[in-house]
Symmetry: C2
Amino acid sequence: MSFCIGVDLGGTFIKAGVVNDRGDIVDSLQIPTGVEANSSSVVMQNIKDSIKNLMEKNKDKKIKAIGVGVPGIADDKGNINIFSNIRVFENYPMAKELSQEFKLPVFVDNDANNAATGEFLFGAGKGMNNFFVITVGTGIGAGIFINGKIYHGKNGCAGEVGHMLIDLDGRPCGCGNYGCWEAFASASAIIKRAKSLVRKGVKTTLIKYYPDNINAKVIVEEAKAGDKISMEIFDEMCRYLGLGIANIVNILNPECCIIGGGVSGSKEFLLDKVKFYTSLYAIPYAYEVFTIKLAEMGNDAGILGSAALAFTNLRD
Amino acid sequence: MSFCIGVDLGGTFIKAGVVNDRGDIVDSLQIPTGVEANSSSVVMQNIKDSIKNLMEKNKDKKIKAIGVGVPGIADDKGNINIFSNIRVFENYPMAKELSQEFKLPVFVDNDANNAATGEFLFGAGKGMNNFFVITVGTGIGAGIFINGKIYHGKNGCAGEVGHMLIDLDGRPCGCGNYGCWEAFASASAIIKRAKSLVRKGVKTTLIKYYPDNINAKVIVEEAKAGDKISMEIFDEMCRYLGLGIANIVNILNPECCIIGGGVSGSKEFLLDKVKFYTSLYAIPYAYEVFTIKLAEMGNDAGILGSAALAFTNLRD
């Protein structure tokens, strides 16, 4: 059995794990990213410490490579650019530095791409060559598989689907535009929507959680429990999710969309609605061969996806 | 010098030509498609007659293959499905039938894909591997090049960008949905917009052409001549064109969009505006490496694209 280390660099935490070639995490840890120091060397040291720690605790296992997921863009040499959360990396040779430190092959890619690679190798994307994985959270990111490989585009930023405009001059988005998909269909979008309705005095059981404890999970729970407003909010999100998925279906005619991120925890409650709306908006011929699935990587998607990146690159 | 025949099957006319490997049309003809007979054998006979005619007139040239463009979907064996205009082909083995008739290799693909192949081989797409060509006319179709090849998707209908929803519940589209891109940014959309404004009594020089002679060309001409309403209509179309192009840029991070179809005749007048709006709506990192060009195939795009399909397949 062979092993790789997967590292998920997030804005708050670095999560890392030792993963075997069947996709089991045999050891893992989590440490703060340390963004407050505003220094690339501090973040890099924390990444190195987490890898070192795992390697020492797992000396008995042959680690073959390291995969890293970053909330930004990586070129095929593992040089990274990060624009959000951790603004300290600009054209930074992360793969090279880690490879020199640990004398192992190191592969780096965008975290949404790795989520897709994880599903491809270990999860809901097994055996498929043309599909995409959307991660629905604060925003909406995608990893797109074309002909059995992650599609990076011209300079590595393919899959920025969250900023697809679906309603010109519609809701404001953090990017400065109005009407981006993620301003309608992300977890953040429904939280904002819920808070706004509570503030307006609309009758809803969500008032129990207002303001700080309103999150996507409680909105789903209250919707299931029969709160009409929560249901409307959830349904609206599903409608917009379906719309955006249908747009990608019409453009790329893929075989599957895999939905990941926190909202995928709502399982069939989400899936059935999103399927319905996608079927309304996609062209019939493309929809006929298309399916929507839930991601299977769950909370460990970051570690598993990064390890999957390492495994798939070792194979090539 | 080698030659291929390119056939462009349209709803009204079949256009066919003998094309050399530099992209010159050395002979061509046009005959009615004959859709009114509502019979696949009548249309097939007309296609065969047009090819036969060209082959007889060009006996001195060695014709190596035949390429056909259809307003529908073709699989990689050249079986076609057409849903609009010519509804007589359902899973019809067009390539096989023509190949048996003429004892030559025959390749069939969607006309928007062929437009992209034409630009790739002979025009504005030379040397590029990741780009897309949009043809703006009655609707908006696209041919998408990924890693140097036309991307067909799961069952051959990738590139149906005209039905990307950009304004949920917006303007009605012929497909039955509301808010499709082509209901805002196609030639038909601006003609409809112009007629509606004239009917409302808005002061515009377009009244000279109302109702039957209002077309995209006169709207552009009147806009250039200083008619404010024509300018507003044209500008609105460019804004929506930019929006849809930006969406594809955000999803696919391509290097170029090539704009074809009648409206591309407006050249820089169109291009400058569309570039401006695309720059507003695309994410900066993807826009940095992206350009927009005008198609170079012009009125003969259909014949040249179909011939280009044949040439590129012979190469493979």
